[in-house]
């Protein structure tokens, strides 16, 4: 196994590819030999990221569209697959959050977050899975928040999405592993939320990208439906040592 080119010849779709995590993942994937299509809402962001991607690998593409609209997602996926030829890696890195609890978050806030985080993950998966099944190979990496397993005041909306994405990931694996389609998720601490400090210092987007690389390549072949916390051990510290 060539660890320097872990994704040689693979085709990857990265949602939210113009955002900080998505960009780091796309860049690392491209440097490991994957053809990458980044899908995002932010058109200028796509242009900048794509320019950097093309310097690494000529087989990269970028498409802009609304990630909260089911039809637009299908269109984006079709464009990406036409460009790449196929897709055997999907990274759901698109996401957003609004701080607030069940009372202060409005109906629209909740719907906005659920659409952007959870529904986009489900819709992209739905659109790409048939291609993966045809290929008898697929690696899905969902980036979620570590609020899936630990709670923090004022994060009601994003925590609900994070837990749902983790459960959805396990179930996708359950349903499609017979086609050798794996799904795993990575939990990452949100930026800018006060109250919790990672024990090892704050992980960067490169650390998430490394975990996403590991989940997409053969190194993690036997690991399916799992969640890897890239959060500096935050979940395991329950209080002061006294």
């Amino acid at each position: 196994m060539d660890y320097q080119r872990l994704l040689a010849g693979r085709s990857a779709i990265v949602t939210g590819g113009a955002g900080s995590i998505g960009r780091a993942v796309a860049m690392l994937y491209a440097s490991h030999g994957a053809n990458v299509a980044i899908l995002d809402e932010d058109e200028p962001g796509i242009k900048t990221t794509l320019r950097d991607l093309l310097e690494i690998n000529q087989g990269c593409f970028g498409f802009a569209g609304n990630l909260r609209d089911p039809e637009s997602i299908v269109r984006l996926c079709n464009d990406a697959i036409d460009a790449l030829g196929t897709a055997d890696i999907l990274v759901n890195a698109a996401g957003t959050y609004i701080e607030g609890d069940a009372e202060t978050l409005t109906e629209d806030d909740f719907i906005f977050m659920i659409d952007k985080n959870l529904n986009s993950t489900i819709r992209f998966t739905k659109a790409i899975i048939p291609h993966m099944c045809d290929n008898r190979r697929g690696d899905i990496v969902n980036i979620t928040s570590d609020l899936a397993t630990a709670s923090l005041a004022g994060t009601a909306g994003i925590a609900a999405c994070a837990g749902a994405i983790a459960a959805f990931t396990r179930n996708v694996t359950m349903d499609y592993i017979r086609y050798h389609v794996r799904a795993n998720c990575i939990s990452f601490p949100l930026d800018g939320i006060k109250g919790r400090e990672p024990l090892t210092g704050t992980p960067s987007t490169v650390d998430v990208a490394n975990a996403a690389l590991w989940y997409a390549c053969k190194m993690s072949r036997f690991i399916i439906g799992d969640m890897l916390p890239v959060n500096g051990g935050m979940d395991y510290f329950v209080g002061s040592e006294g």
């Binding site: 050798h180 090892t200 490394n210 993690s220 036997f222 916390p229 979940d235």
Partner: protein
């Protein structure tokens, strides 16, 4: 980051690194540039030590019985005499003595705890100052039986569950020194004996079932795992790829645990445990 030399310039200590899964782990580490100091009970581990030395000069085998406190302490001393740094401790050693809970004798229960749990506690204690200096990490091989399990497994399951908890506590304590601790929980992996049996009887499904080999150990629709899968998980955790992963428990089981209902329903052939116990005894005689 040089992804094909993930452990360049590092020194790794691998328990039971001479045979089976441990050998795959130490070879992977050595190929990625780490000097590997392996231990084991069987003196034939010297051959693996020599092989590792060829891949990564400075690697060696040191004889050590992980069930004995004096042996472990002398091993730690010998390692620290040989090298001025330790970046990683990977605990592969493990034993499963299958006893029914109402029949287990103290000596056998204690022996399991000594090998599976006390061994790594002593190693972590002994190498702690060295790991502090290098901001190193500890990788523990546990098992899916630290979660769901089946019968005749009380000593093994409890020791491994404690291993997982130990890793989390180590992660919390070690964080201030940059020491990370993580766990890999393999599902059924074909290594050594099981692999041999599989290839010997692969055309005889009944015999395979008798041996407890269902053809695959992960999800029924997926394949089975190999020692290399575990080696790659350890490599990831030991390297800077997982710089901010600590206290994590990675299930490398091909999905055996998340389909927990089916897993609980697995019928164990009557002589499976006897055969398995014999195999384990061959390697770790009391």
């Amino acid at each position: 980051m040089k992804y094909n030399r993930l452990l360049e310039g590092k020194v790794a200590v691998i328990t039971s690194g001479a045979h089976g899964m441990g050998k795959h782990v130490s070879v992977a580490y050595a190929r990625h540039g780490a000097v590997c100091i392996i231990n084991g009970r069987n003196p034939s581990g010297v051959e693996t030590g020599e092989m590792l030395n060829e891949i990564s000069p400075g690697s060696c085998f040191i004889r050590c019985d992980m069930s004995k406190r004096e042996d472990v302490e002398s091993f730690i001393r010998q390692v620290l005499e040989r090298t001025d740094r330790v970046d990683n401790v990977t605990n592969v050693v493990g034993i499963n003595q299958s006893d029914l809970t109402d029949q287990v004798v103290d000596e056998r229960f204690e022996y399991t705890q000594q090998v599976n749990l006390y061994g790594i506690i002593r190693l972590a204690r002994g190498f702690w100052p060295a790991l502090q200096e290098t901001r190193g990490n500890v990788v523990l091989i546990s098992t899916i039986h630290s979660g769901p399990t089946y019968g005749k497994n009380s000593a093994y399951a409890s020791s491994k569950s404690a291993t997982n908890a130990f890793a989390r506590a180590l992660a919390v304590e070690g964080a201030q020194y940059g020491i990370r601790g993580n766990v890999v929980c393999p599902g059924g992996i074909y290594s050594g004996f099981m692999r041999e049996m599989y290839f010997k009887f692969k055309d005889d499904p009944e015999k395979l079932l008798q041996l407890g080999i269902r053809g695959q150990f992960g999800h029924p629709d997926y394949g089975s795992g190999s020692s290399n899968d575990i080696a790659n998980a350890c490599l990831f955790l030991a390297s800077d790829m997982a710089k901010h992963v600590t206290g994590a428990t990675i299930m490398s089981d091909g999905g055996a645990t998340f389909q927990s209902h089916e897993f609980r329903d697995i019928r164990i052939p009557p002589d499976y445990m006897e055969l398995w116990g014999k195999f384990m005894q061959d390697r770790y005689e009391l």
